[in-house]
Structures are given as structure tokens and as C-alpha cells.
Symmetry: C2
Subunit: 344 residues, 2 copies
DNA sequence: CTGAAAGCGCTTACAG
DNA sequence: CTGAAAGCGCTTACAG
């Protein structure tokens, strides 16, 4: 048996030997293309393909990439956990990539382990290009440097200036403020906030939600009651418990803004279970606009992208990837909106 | 300006030239290791590192991989959409990988575009190893072939025999049947099933849920009413609408098994909104055991892994990866369980 | 202590 | 129509 045989992947030399041709011919047959010249004749192709099948040859990605100066891989980087948005984008990228024979890898960056290894995937050219969802740990200078080295990049960010890479603007801060404005306009004065865990320590550019909450309250002369700001994990019993607790206070909030739709949904459950009518006794507005917000009753008022579609952004990445000369920088507008439904 | 300058990544030759050393020395300095010999002296190291910083050099992944015969990349393949389970596994893999200086890429395979390009990531050695969650589109023969070529593989599958790769057994079929058994034992005769879209066309090995549902009903002499089997998309208004419709029938189901916890949760919402008491008037059991099942009230009875932890599986992948000689095949038991809470 | 050289597995202009 | 050869950017045994 071959049990202890050292694993060696067959190479094009093995194919060439077996088919009685040169490695050049093997390569021509496998790639199907060949400069300007005609492809090898049918007979030769068959001999090569037979050898490939018999040996079970698979091309070596590293060698091909080194030689061709491209990896045929694109990445999607996003802060973990995944969401319907990152899932959808991955799916759309994959469809577009498949048409071109490229593969897509997802690069979830965990809050807990902001792995340097993950950034190396971009820096060391594991991929030819990438789409970066908001709040990935890369600064403008670094992105420019990557772009200058030929990496194709489409970056979701509301502040960065494009510089060799494209930027997608969502105006998240504006629409988060609109949500708080709405609650204030509805007459609410005690407005709670379900924060991302650790959000209060984030850089300002990242904590647009908390920042907008504070700012709008301030503008209306409403002080921020720190007791009404609760960090809760995404989609966990935390939010439910926090809302139970908030509603049990002597001076409970009458409205809640939540950094995530999932926590907002948990909040609605909690309110319903406690017999607090939503939105009459507790108005709830989420952030993110995930599809589940449509299912709960009352339907979730939220802030987010109006449609679950990234065709433009995906098209832009591939346009950059395929363009012979560097494309001019683009700014794509994909603004978030306040989506008023029933809960607030 | 360098706007039209063709992007060229600097190489170790550029560093060598600038630092006045050979490329061998650059490589030694950068890698920090050097066969048995001592590393270059401090002064040389500094010169090299200075040149690296000034030029903004980043190593080329393809070239390094080709030479070292390893990519320092591991993959996590799973059927899209992502779930708390795939997220958690990605996070645990990433933590373990980061300790070793490796990166993790996620490989979500979409039902709609079962991309050949994605399989190439495994076949063509983009990665050194991978963990495959259940229902990835790779057969036993193919997995064995990949393993024989030296790919390290840990595969979640209830049927496959390990063969150069390790297998994690969850016994999903058994525990799905246990869920139906429970409903029958509770006296239910009209038991509906919220299926994965397209599940009835899946291969038997993949449709363990539907199959278990049918089989147990058959064993108890309960005919399967096709009207009670509804395909619904994961986490979408579908499930909510389907349950509304089912409960409006003249002969509504008194119990529901759902292929996903999310749809089960939607079902509970729908029942509550219609004033049907859960579990008294409609018992609901989900499959998957996602954390959200704990939040809804009544808490979701479900089937799934009892704890959100993949340390053993992750450790096993890295053991394979790091072992000089091929490890003997392992079968890890990580059985799903019926987790009885309140909803059914 | 350092560098010249070979070679990883491909691709591709080029010569025959 | 086909093959010999150079070279992509690294690493590493080896010679000096």
C-alpha cells in the first residue's frame, strides 16, 4: 500500500512524460489558450487529457499565480459575525466571480482576535482584489499603499477619500441621527441605547451610532442618562435581559435605539413578554435592516440600506480587476435610510 | 506623479540592493530562521529592516508558497448562509491559526452557485488544510484523493469513512428522529414540517431531516400529509407566512418540526400573533440549536449540538497540519442531542 | 558570516 | 506544430 508514501502532487512534468509531449504542450492544452497561435491539435489534446485524468493531476495554484502574477482569487472582508448583508454580498460576489472562473474567500475579522494574519491576506497578495465592508481594521494610508501595488479594492467607508481604490458611501451617521430625531419628534425624552459591546471605547469613525445618539440628544437639550446605555452582544439573550431590566426600572425608557436589528428584535420580544405595548409604551428602532425585521410584529422600524443588493459594488470590483490601466477613483453612493415601519 | 506607473511590487532583490546584501541574507533576516546556523548579526538585520520599511516591502505569498510547499492558509467550508455555528468555528479556527501565524479563509458554498471555483481552492492547493461543515459538495472519493495529496482535512459527516482525513460524527439523523418521536409520544398526529427549500430533491444523505420526519411518521402508522410539508427559506418572512396559512386550514397541524431554528422561531411568532398557544395548541421543535432559541418565549425545543464549541475539531486540524508523518484517521464523536425546552 | 546558485511548478515568447 | 529555455519571487543547502 501507499500508506507511508510521502504525498507528492503530480506535476505537469509527470503528465508530459506520460503523454510523450513537452511541459509546454501540457500547459497549452490545460490553459486552452496560447498567445496568438493555434491550439494543439485534437490528437495531442486527447493524449494530454487522458494522462491528466489517469494521474489525477490538479494544477498548482502557487506556481501558476507566481508565474501569471495573479491569483484569480478575490476576498470579502467584514467584521464578524456574519450577517444577512455579508452573506448576500458573498453570494453576489461568488456569482460574478464564477462567471470569470475566479473564487471568492470570505475574511471575517473577529473583534476578539484581530488577526494580523488576516491583513496579510491583503498585503501579501493572496488575492487580486477585495471588497471591504464597514469597520474593517485598515486605514486610508494602508489602503492607498495596497492599491498602489495593484490590489483592486472597493471599500465601504463614510469618511475615507478614494485614492487608488473606490469608496462606497452609506452615510450611516446621518441616518442613525435621523432615527434619534424621529424618536425625539415623537415626543420621547427617555431614550435608551443598546450598544455594541465595547462601543464606547471605539474610535469616533466607528462609533457613529453611539455618537449620533449622544449628539442628537444633546442638540435637543436631553441629557444622556448613562443607565440607559447598555452594551449587549448581537443576537444573544443579553438584549432580552437588558430590556427586561430597563423596563423594570422606576423611570423606564419610553424608546430604544438599538445598534443592531437583532437586539432590537429581542427588545420587542422582551417588551411583549412583559406586556408593554410596542410602540405605544416602548418605541423601538433598530439599525441594520435585516430581513427578520419584517417578520416580527410590530414590524421593526430601522435604519439601513433599503435593498439587499450589491450588484454595483461587485461590478465595480470586477471592472477594476479587469481593467488594463488603473481606473479613475469612484465614489458610489449607497445611502442608508430611515425605514419607518411599526415599532417606532 | 506615479499615477500611470505600472504597479510593481518591490521584491527581495530591491531590498538586497538597497541594503547592500544578497537576497539570501534578506530572506534570512525576514524569516528569522536559518537552517541550523546563527541568524545574521544585529547590524545586518537593521540595515535590511530599514530598507524593508523604506520601500514598504511585503513578501509575495505565491512565491513563498511555491518554494516552501505550504500556503500557511487554512479554510473553513460550509453551506451558505452562515450561522452562529459557522461563525463560531471561524472564530475558533482563527484564534488557533493566529497563534501559529496562519490565516483562515471562509469558503461559503451557495446553493444557487455551487461554484467549481470554490472546490478548486481545495484541489489546487490554495490552502494547506480545511474543516468542512456538513453538506459540503465533496464526496468520499474526492476527499480521499485530496488527503492523499497531503491536504489536511477534518470533515463533518455522518456517513463517510475516514480515509486519510478525520471525520466528525454528529448523528444528525438519529436526533432528528428523536424530535419527531417526541412529538408523536406527546400525542401529536398532525405534524407539519418546515423544510429547506428544495430539500425533497436532495440526496438522501443530505435530507436527513425530511427523511427522519417521514420515517418516524411511517413507523407509527401516521401518513405524511404533503400539505403539511412546506419549503421555507431560512430566516425569512416565508416561514411566518407558511405557518399563518397552516394554522388557518380546516385541519391545522398541532405540531411542527422545522429544518432550521430560525424558521421555528418565526413559527412561534406567527402562532403567538394568531393567538395560538405554544406548545398547547401548536408544539414547535427546531433543528440547529442557535442561541436565539433561548430568547424567545416559550424557549425553543430543538435538536443540535449541546455546546457552541469546536476546540477538539480545530485542535485536530492543526495536529494533522503540524504532524511530520501522516496521522492515523480519527473519528470524533460530537453527537447532536434533543434539547427539550418549552416550545415542544 | 555571506553570497552564488539551484530549484519550487508553472507560463510563454521564441527558435526550430 | 512542438519543445528548449528563461524566469516569476522566493528559500535553502552549500561553498567560500
Amino acid at each position: 500500500m501507499a500508506a507511508t508514501e510521502p504525498p507528492r502532487r503530480p506535476t505537469q512534468r509527470d503528465i508530459a512524460r506520460r503523454a510523450g509531449v513537452s511541459t509546454a504542450t501540457v500547459s497549452y492544452v490545460l490553459s486552452g489558450r496560447r498567445g496568438g497561435a493555434k491550439p494543439p491539435p485534437q490528437e495531442t489534446r486527447e493524449r494530454v487529457m487522458r494522462a491528466v485524468a489517469e494521474i489525477g493531476y490538479q494544477i498548482d495554484h502557487s506556481a501558476r499565480s507566481l508565474r501569471r502574477r495573479r491569483t484569480d482569487l478575490v476576498g470579502l472582508m467584514y467584521p464578524a459575525p456574519s450577517s444577512p448583508w455579508s452573506d448576500r454580498l458573498a453570494e453576489q460576489m461568488q456569482a460574478a466571480a464564477a462567471e470569470r472562473g475566479l473564487a471568492v474567500v470570505a475574511l471575517p475579522v473577529s473583534e476578539s482576535t484581530p488577526s494580523d494574519a488576516l491583513l496579510r491576506v491583503l498585503r501579501e497578495r493572496y488575492v487580486d482584489g477585495a471588497i471591504l465592508l464597514p469597520d474593517c481594521p485598515l486605514g486610508g494610508a494602508e489602503l492607498s499603499a495596497l492599491a498602489r501595488q495593484g490590489l483592486s479594492l472597493v471599500v465601504f467607508d463614510d469618511e475615507l477619500r478614494p485614492d487608488g481604490f473606490d469608496v462606497v458611501r452609506q452615510d450611516r451617521a446621518r441616518s442613525c441621527r435621523a432615527a434619534v430625531e424621529r424618536l425625539v419628534a415623537l415626543g420621547h425624552r427617555r431614550i435608551g441605547y443598546l450598544a455594541h459591546p465595547g462601543e464606547s471605547e471605539w474610535a469616533p469613525a466607528r462609533s457613529v451610532k453611539l455618537h449620533g445618539y449622544r449628539r442628537v440628544l444633546g442638540e435637543h437639550g436631553i441629557g444622556v442618562d448613562p443607565d440607559l446605555v447598555r452594551p449587549v452582544a448581537d443576537s444573544r439573550p443579553d438584549a432580552y435581559a437588558a430590556v427586561r431590566e430597563l423596563l423594570g426600572r422606576p423611570d423606564p425608557p419610553t424608546a430604544l435605539l438599538s445598534a443592531t436589528d437583532r437586539a432590537a428584535i429581542d427588545a420587542i420580544w422582551a417588551a411583549r413578554d412583559l406586556g408593554a405595548a410596542v410602540p405605544e409604551e416602548l418605541a423601538v428602532i433598530g439599525i441594520g435592516n435585516i430581513p427578520e425585521g419584517l417578520v416580527i410584529s410590530p414590524a421593526l422600524t430601522t435604519v439601513g440600506a433599503p435593498v439587499l443588493d450589491f450588484s454595483r459594488e461587485v461590478a465595480r470590483l470586477f471592472a477594476r480587476l479587469e481593467s488594463a490601466s488603473p481606473l479613475p477613483d469612484a465614489v458610489l453612493a449607497a445611502p442608508w435610510e430611515l425605514i419607518v415601519r411599526e415599532s417606532g
